[in-house]
C-alpha cells in the first residue's frame, strides 16, 4: 500500500496533497462497493489518462474515488421523495392525494402551494394545516374561533363573504358565486355579510372599478335598487346555520346618498323565501338595515313554524309595534330561544303583545328590548308575564323610559321567579323608591346574577346593597357549579363571610 501510494504520489503530483490526507483514512475504506459504484460516473477521463500503469490501476482508482470530496450518499434523494416532489409540482393538473400513505400525504400537503385553484383543493384536501396556510396568506387577522375552530370552514366562509360583499347586481357575473357553490356547500355554516352593493347606474359603467362611488351618483328616479338575491346561494348551502346580514354600504365617503341604504321590498321578499326554504338555519340576523314594520312582518311570516331557528336578531332597525306583534306571534310558533329587538321603535302596545306571548312561552331564554320606548305600560305587562314564565333567563330593558310602577312589579317578580339570571334596567327613571322596592325584591331572590341599574336614578345605597345580594348569589351559583352535592353546607359556610362585608 505504502508503495503504491508513493508511486501514485510521484506520478501525479497534483493529487499528492490529497493522497497524503487520505493515508490516514485508508483503513476505514475497506469496502469496495462505494468505489465500484462511482467508478464510471465520476472519474472516467482521468482513469483513461492513467492507463499506462496497469499494475497500479485498481488501487489508483480506489484512491481517487475515496478522495472525491463531493461524494456522499445524501446527495441522492429517495425515489419516494422525487415522486412526492413531482406530485407537488403537478398537483394542479393531476391531484393525487388519497392514494398515498399517510406520511407521504402529510409531506405533500406541507409543500402544496396555497394558490392552487379551489376547484382542485376544495373537496380533496381536508388537512387543516393547508387551509391554515391559505387563510394566513389571504388575511392578516384570522379568528378561527368564530368559524367553529376549522380553518377550512373559515377559508370558505370568508371567501364567500368576500365575494358577496363585492357583488354588484347587473355587473358582476352571478356565476362567480354559483361556481363556488358546489365547492363550498359542505363547509360553509355561517354567512356573514355586512354590506350589499346596489346595482350600478349608467354613468357608473364607464368606470366600473369604483363601484361604491359610482352607485351614489344615480338619480332618485330609479325605483329598484335591489341587491343580490340570496335565494340560490342559501338553497345551495346544505349546512347553513347562521345568516348574518346587513343591508348597508361601507366606506361610501362623500358619495353618500340615502338611496344607497335601501332594503327594498323585493330584497325582503326574496330573503324571506330564501330563509323559509333553508331548514338548517339556526341563527338569523338582519341588523342596521332599515327594516320597518311591513318588512319585518314579511320576514317573520316566513319564519313561522321554522323547524330549527333559535335566534332572531333584528336590532338597529325601524320596527314598531306591528313588527313587535309579529315577533310575538313568532314566539308562540317556533322554538326561538333568543330574540333581539334592540334599538327599534317598539312602544307599549308592542311590548304588551310580546309580554302576552312570553307569558306562556317555554323556549325563549333571552329577550333584548334595549333602546325602545315601551314605557311603564309595556314594562308592567312584561313583569306580569314574567310571573308565569319559567324559561327566560336574560332580559334587557335598558333605555325604555321605565319608572317606579314597573320597578314595583319587577320586585314582586324577583321574589317569585327562579329562572332569571340577568336583568338590565339601565338608563331608565326608576327613582329612589323604585330602587328600594327592587332591593326588597332582591332580598328574596337567590338566582339573579346580574342586575344593571346604572344611570337609573336609584339611590346609591340600594344599588350597593343590590350589588351585595348579587355577589352572594354569584358565590352560591359558583359553589353549586363546583359541587352540587354540598350546596347546602357551603351556603352555611359562606354565611359569615358575606355578613361581615
Amino acid at each position: 500500500m505504502q508503495d503504491t501510494v508513493t508511486t501514485s504520489a510521484l506520478l501525479d503530483p497534483s493529487h499528492s496533497s490529497v493522497s497524503t490526507q487520505d493515508k490516514s483514512s485508508t483503513g476505514g475504506h475497506t469496502s469496495s462497493t462505494g468505489p465500484q459504484l462511482s467508478k464510471p460516473s465520476i472519474t472516467p477521463v482521468p482513469a483513461k489518462s492513467r492507463n499506462p500503469h496497469p499494475g497500479a490501476n485498481f488501487h489508483r482508482m480506489r484512491r481517487i474515488i475515496a478522495e472525491d470530496p463531493e461524494w456522499s450518499l445524501a446527495i441522492v434523494p429517495l425515489l419516494t421523495e422525487l415522486c412526492i416532489q413531482h406530485i407537488i409540482r403537478n398537483f394542479q393538473k393531476n391531484p393525487i392525494l388519497k392514494q398515498m400513505l399517510p406520511e407521504h400525504q402529510q409531506k405533500v400537503l406541507n409543500h402544496l402551494s396555497p394558490d392552487l385553484p379551489l376547484a382542485v383543493t376544495a373537496n380533496l384536501i381536508d388537512n387543516e394545516n393547508y387551509w391554515l396556510r391559505c387563510c394566513m396568506q389571504r388575511w392578516p387577522v384570522c379568528h378561527v374561533a368564530h368559524h367553529g375552530g376549522s380553518w377550512k370552514r373559515m377559508f370558505f366562509e370568508r371567501h364567500l363573504e368576500n365575494l358577496l360583499k363585492h357583488f354588484i347586481p347587473g355587473t358582476t357575473d352571478p356565476a362567480v358565486i354559483l361556481d363556488l357553490l358546489p365547492l363550498c356547500r359542505n363547509y360553509v355554516r355561517r354567512v356573514h355579510v355586512d354590506q350589499f352593493l346596489p346595482p350600478v347606474r349608467l354613468p357608473a359603467q364607464l368606470r366600473p372599478g369604483d363601484q361604491s362611488d359610482s352607485g351614489s351618483e344615480g338619480e332618485m328616479e330609479e325605483p329598484t335598487v335591489d341587491h343580490y338575491q340570496l335565494g340560490d346561494l342559501v338553497a345551495g348551502l346544505s349546512h347553513l346555520e347562521e345568516l348574518d346580514l346587513v343591508y348597508d354600504v361601507k366606506d361610501c365617503g362623500m358619495n353618500f346618498e340615502w338611496n344607497l341604504f335601501l332594503f327594498t321590498y323585493r330584497d325582503c321578499h326574496s330573503l324571506a323565501a330564501a330563509i323559509k326554504a333553508c331548514h338548517t338555519l339556526k341563527i338569523f340576523k338582519l341588523t342596521r338595515s332599515k327594516v320597518d314594520d311591513d318588512k319585518a312582518r314579511i320576514i317573520i311570516r316566513s319564519l313561522l313554524d321554522h323547524p330549527v331557528l333559535e335566534e332572531l336578531d333584528l336590532s338597529h332597525n325601524l320596527i314598531g309595534d306591528r313588527g313587535a306583534r309579529g315577533a310575538a306571534k313568532l314566539l308562540s310558533h317556533s322554538r326561538l330561544r333568543v330574540l333581539n329587538l334592540a334599538n327599534n321603535q317598539v312602544r307599549a302596545p308592542g311590548a304588551q303583545s310580546l309580554a302576552h306571548a312570553l307569558a306562556h312561552n317555554t323556549n325563549l331564554i333571552s329577550l333584548n328590548l334595549r333602546l325602545n320606548c315601551i314605557e311603564d305600560e309595556g314594562g308592567q305587562a312584561l313583569a306580569h308575564a314574567l310571573q308565569t314564565n319559567k324559561c327566560l333567563t336574560t332580559l334587557h330593558l335598558g333605555g325604555n323610559e321605565l319608572s317606579e310602577p314597573t320597578a314595583t312589579l319587577l320586585s314582586q317578580v324577583l321574589a317569585i321567579n327562579t329562572t332569571l339570571t340577568s336583568i338590565n334596567l339601565s338608563c331608565n327613571h326608576i327613582g329612589l323608591d323604585g330602587g328600594k322596592q327592587l332591593l326588597e325584591g332582591m332580598s328574596d331572590n337567590k338566582t339573579l346574577l346580574e342586575f344593571d341599574l346604572r344611570l337609573s336614578d336609584v339611590a346609591q345605597e340600594s344599588e350597593y346593597l343590590i350589588g351585595q345580594a348579587l355577589y352572594a348569589n354569584r358565590e352560591a351559583a359558583r359553589q353549586r357549579a363546583l359541587n352540587p352535592s354540598h350546596f347546602m353546607s357551603t351556603i352555611t359556610a359562606n354565611g359569615p363571610e358575606n355578613s361581615v362585608g
Binding site: 334595549r370 320606548c373 335598558g398 338608563c427 346604572r454 344611570l455 346609591q460 363571610e497 361581615v500 362585608g501
Partner: protein, 740 residues
C-alpha cells in the same frame, strides 16, 4: 364603616382603579346627570375597595387563626375574589360608556320628539295663518274685479302685491328658519359624530387599559398564588425536614442505647463463658479419669473375650466338619429325592393328561346329554302341546260324540214318544202327555259349572247392575250363582264400591294414573282387580267370603251379643277345624267344603238378620273398611296356604253322572208302557193277519176280473177281424156282443 375622611387614605394600587374611573365619562360629558352618575360610581368603587380591604384583613386574621387550612387554598380563593371583582369593575367601566351613550340617545330622542312636536305645531299654525292670508288675498281679487277705476285697481293691485310679498316673505322666513334648524342639526350631527368617535376612542382606550390591568392583575395573582404555593411547599418541606431530623435523632439515640446494652451484655456473656469453661475443664478431668478406669476394666474384659473366642473357634471348626459330612449326605438324599420327584412328575403328567381326556369326554357327554335334554324338552313341549291339542280335540270329540249320541238317543226317544203318542192317540184313543225329564233338556256333556274368578264375577255383577236388572239372581239360573243368593247384587256392589273407594292404597299409583281416562265401571273393575290381587282374592268363593265378612262385621257391630257369640262360635269352630287339620289334602278339601257349608249357613243366618235390619252397606262406616279388610286378610291367610295343590285337578272332568244320565235316557219309556205295547202288538198282529187274508182275497178277485176283461178283449178282437166278414155266417150276428 364609611367615614368621609377615610376616602383619603386608600392604598396606592386602588388609586389605579380610581384614576381609571376618574377618566370615566364625567370628564368629557356635558350632561350633569352623567357626571353625577360618574361620581356615584367612583364612590361605589371606593366603597368596594374599602370593603375588600376589610375583608382581606379579616381573611388574613382568619388565616392566622386557622393555620390548619392550607395557605394556597386561601390565596387561591382570595385571588379569585379579587379577580372576579376586578373583572366586574372592568366590564362595568367599559359598559358605562355604552350606558351613558344610551341615556344620551334617549334624552336626544325625547328632545327630538319635543322639538318635532313643536315644529309640527308651528308649521300647522303657519299653514293656518298663511291660508287665512291667502283667503284674504283671493277674496280681494274678487273685489278687484268689481273695481272700474284704474287708480283704485292699481292701488288694490299694489296692496295685493304687498300682501303676496308678505305671504311669500313669511314662507321664506319659515324656510330659512327650517334651514337654519337643519344647519344647526347638521352641526350637531357632526358634533355627535365627533363625540361618538371620541367615545369609541375612549372605549378602545379603556378596553386596552382593562386588558392590560386585567392581565397585570392576573399575572400578579398568579405570582401570588405561586408564591403562596411555594411558601407552603417550603413550609411543608421545612416541617417535614424537622420531623425527619427529629426522627433521625431519636433513631440515633436509640441506636446508641442499643449499642451500650449490647456491649454490656457481651461482657456479661464473656464472664459467664469463662466461668463455664473452668467448670467444664474440671468436669472434663474427672470424667477423663473415670473413663480411663473404665478402659482398663474393658481391656481386661477384652482379654477374657478373646479367650472365649478361641474356644468357640475350635468348637465351630469341629461343627463345620460335622456339617460338611451332613451336607454330603444331604446331597445324596437330595439327588434321590430329585429322582423321586421326576418319577412322580411323570405320573402326575400322565394323570393330568388322563384327567384332561376325562374332562373332554365328560364334556362331550355332557354336551350330548344337554342336546338330548333339549331335544327332550322340545319333544316334551311338543308333546304337551300335542296333549293340550289332543285334550282339546278329545274334549271336542267327546262333546261331539256326546252330542251325536245324545241326538241319536233323543231321536230315538222322540221317535219312541211319537210312537207312543201315535199309539195313544190313534190306537188307544187316549190323550197323550209328554213326559218331562231333566235330562231331556240337557245338551252337551254334563259338567259342573267352572269356578269363575273373582273379577269375572265382579264384572258380571257390574254389568248386571248396569243393565238395571233388578231381578234376583235366581231368575238367571246359571249366571248368578249358587253361593250367595241371599245377598242382593246391589249390596254386593255397594260393598265393593266402598272397598274400592277406601282401599285405594292397595292400588299402585301408576295404575291410578292410567285409570283416569276410563269409564267409571271400567275404572272400578280395574281397581277392584288390583285390590283383589293385593288381598289374595282369586276365586268366586273368596269374593263372596269377603262380602259376607263385611256383612257379618256389620251385623257384629249392630246386633246383639248373642249374634256376636254365634259369630265367635263360628270362628271358634273354624279355628278348631284348622287346628285339627294336619297335612293331608283330603282332609283339607273336606275342611274347605265344611267351611263353605258353614259359611252358607252363616249366610242364611245373615239373611234373616238382613231381613230384620234393612241392608244398607252405608251403615258400614268407611273408616271401618280398613279394619275389616285387615281382619279378613288375617282370616284368609291360613287356609290360603294349603289350597294350592288340589287346584291342579280342577281340569279333570267329573264323569260320575254320565252313566246315570245315559241310564236315565234308556228308561224314558217305563216298563208298564212296554207291557202295554206288547199286548197291543199281539192284538195288532192278529188284526194284521185278518187284514192280510182279506187282502189276498181282494187280490184274487181283482185277478179274476182282469182275466175276464182280457178274455173280453180277445173276443172283441176276434169278432172284429176280416175273416168274419168273409164268413157266410158272421159270428157277430150269432153272438150278441154287449156293446160298450
Amino acid at each position: 364603616m364609611n367615614p368621609p375622611g377615610s376616602l383619603a387614605d386608600v392604598d396606592p394600587n386602588l388609586d389605579e382603579h380610581l384614576s381609571t374611573q376618574i377618566l370615566a365619562p364625567s370628564v368629557h360629558s356635558d350632561n350633569p346627570q352623567e357626571r353625577i352618575q360618574a361620581r356615584r360610581l367612583r364612590i361605589a368603587a371606593r366603597l368596594e375597595a374599602r370593603r375588600r380591604e376589610a375583608l382581606g384583613e379579616y381573611l388574613d386574621g382568619k388565616k392566622e387563626s386557622e393555620e390548619d387550612q392550607s395557605k394556597s387554598y386561601k390565596q387561591k380563593e382570595e385571588s379569585r375574589l379579587k379577580l372576579a371583582k376586578l373583572l366586574l369593575c372592568g366590564t362595568e367601566l367599559v359598559t358605562n360608556i355604552q350606558v351613558a351613550i344610551d341615556t344620551r340617545e334617549i334624552h336626544r330622542r325625547v328632545e327630538e320628539e319635543e322639538i318635532k312636536r313643536q315644529r309640527i305645531e308651528k308649521l300647522e299654525n303657519e299653514v293656518k295663518t298663511s291660508q287665512d292670508k291667502f283667503d284674504e288675498i283671493t277674496s280681494k281679487w274678487e273685489e278687484g274685479k268689481q273695481k272700474r277705476i284704474p287708480q283704485e285697481l292699481w292701488e288694490m293691485l299694489n296692496t295685493q302685491q304687498l300682501h303676496c310679498a308678505g305671504l311669500l316673505e313669511d314662507k321664506n322666513k319659515l324656510i330659512s328658519e327650517l334651514q337654519q334648524e337643519l344647519k344647526t342639526k347638521d352641526d350637531q350631527y357632526v358634533k355627535d359624530l365627533k363625540k361618538q368617535s371620541d367615545d369609541i376612542c375612549l372605549l378602545l382606550e379603556r378596553m386596552e387599559q382593562q386588558v392590560k390591568s386585567v392581565m397585570k392583575a392576573f399575572r400578579e395573582e398568579l405570582y401570588h398564588i405561586e408564591k403562596a404555593f411555594e411558601v407552603e411547599r417550603q413550609e411543608l418541606l421545612a416541617s417535614n425536614k424537622k420531623k425527619w431530623e427529629r426522627a433521625l435523632q431519636a433513631h440515633n439515640a436509640k441506636e446508641l442505647e442499643y449499642l451500650t446494652n449490647r456491649m454490656k451484655k457481651v461482657e456479661d456473656y464473656e464472664k459467664q463463658l469463662n466461668r463455664q469453661r473452668i467448670r467444664d475443664c474440671e468436669e472434663y478431668n474427672t470424667i477423663k479419669i473415670k473413663l480411663e478406669q473404665d478402659v482398663q476394666i474393658l481391656e481386661q474384659q477384652l482379654q477374657q473375650r478373646k479367650a472365649i473366642y478361641q474356644l468357640n473357634q475350635e468348637k465351630l471348626e469341629y461343627n463345620l466338619q460335622v456339617l460338611k459330612k451332613r451336607d454330603e449326605e444331604s446331597t445324596v438324599i437330595k439327588s434321590q429325592q430329585k429322582r423321586k420327584i421326576n418319577r412322580l412328575r411323570d405320573t402326575l403328567n400322565n394323570l393330568r393328561s388322563k384327567y384332561a381326556k376325562q374332562i373332554k369326554q365328560f364334556q362331550e357327554e355332557n354336551q350330548s346329554l344337554t342336546l338330548d335334554y333339549q331335544s327332550l324338552v322340545l319333544q316334551f313341549k311338543e308333546l304337551q302341546k300335542a296333549m293340550r291339542h289332543f285334550a282339546l280335540i278329545d274334549d271336542k270329540k267327546f262333546r261331539e260324540i256326546w252330542l251325536m249320541n245324545e241326538e241319536e238317543a233323543k231321536d230315538l226317544i222322540t221317535r219312541a214318544f211319537d210312537v207312543d203318542r201315535i199309539i195313544h192317540t190313534h190306537h188307544l184313543g187316549l190323550p197323550w202327555t209328554a213326559p218331562d225329564f231333566w235330562f231331556l233338556k240337557n245338551v252337551g256333556p254334563i259338567s259342573q259349572q267352572p269356578q269363575k274368578s273373582a273379577t269375572q264375577i265382579v264384572e258380571e255383577m257390574l254389568m248386571h247392575t248396569e243393565e238395571e236388572e233388578a231381578e234376583e239372581a235366581a231368575s238367571e239360573p246359571e249366571s248368578y250363582l249358587d253361593l250367595p243368593k241371599q245377598i242382593s247384587e246391589k249390596t254386593t256392589k255397594r260393598i265393593l264400591m266402598l272397598l274400592c273407594d277406601e282401599s285405594g292404597f292397595l292400588v299402585e299409583s301408576k295404575l291410578l294414573s292410567l285409570l283416569l281416562p276410563l269409564e267409571q265401571n271400567e275404572c272400578y273393575l280395574l281397581r277392584l282387580d288390583a285390590i283383589f290381587s293385593a288381598l289374595g282374592i282369586e276365586s268366586e268363593d273368596d269374593l263372596y267370603k269377603l262380602v259376607n265378612f263385611f256383612l257379618k262385621y256389620r251385623a257384629h257391630r249392630l246386633s246383639s251379643s248373642l249374634q256376636i257369640k254365634s259369630c265367635s262360635q263360628a270362628s271358634m269352630e273354624k279355628a278348631s277345624m284348622e287346628e285339627t287339620s294336619t297335612g293331608s289334602e283330603l282332609e283339607l278339601a273336606e275342611q274347605t267344603e265344611m267351611e263353605g257349608e258353614k259359611e252358607e249357613s252363616l249366610v242364611e243366618g245373615e239373611k234373616e238378620e238382613e231381613e230384620e235390619t234393612p241392608p244398607s252397606p252405608w251403615v258400614i262406616h268407611p273408616n271401618d273398611v280398613v279394619k275389616i279388610l285387615e281382619a279378613f286378610v288375617m282370616g284368609l291367610k291360613k287356609p290360603r296356604d294349603s289350597r294350592a295343590p288340589p287346584r291342579v285337578q280342577k281340569n279333570v272332568r267329573n264323569n260320575s253322572k254320565d252313566s246315570e244320565y245315559w241310564q236315565a235316557l234308556t228308561t224314558v219309556i217305563p216298563s208298564s208302557k212296554q207291557n202295554l205295547w206288547d199286548a197291543l202288538y199281539t192284538a195288532l198282529e192278529k188284526y194284521h193277519i185278518v187284514l192280510t187274508q182279506r187282502a189276498k182275497l181282494l187280490q184274487e178277485n181283482s185277478s179274476l176280473e182282469q182275466q175276464n176283461t182280457e178274455l173280453q178283449v180277445l173276443l172283441q178282437q176276434y169278432l172284429n177281424s176280416k175273416i168274419n166278414s168273409e164268413l157266410q155266417v158272421p159270428p157277430t150276428q150269432v153272438l150278441r156282443v154287449p156293446k160298450k
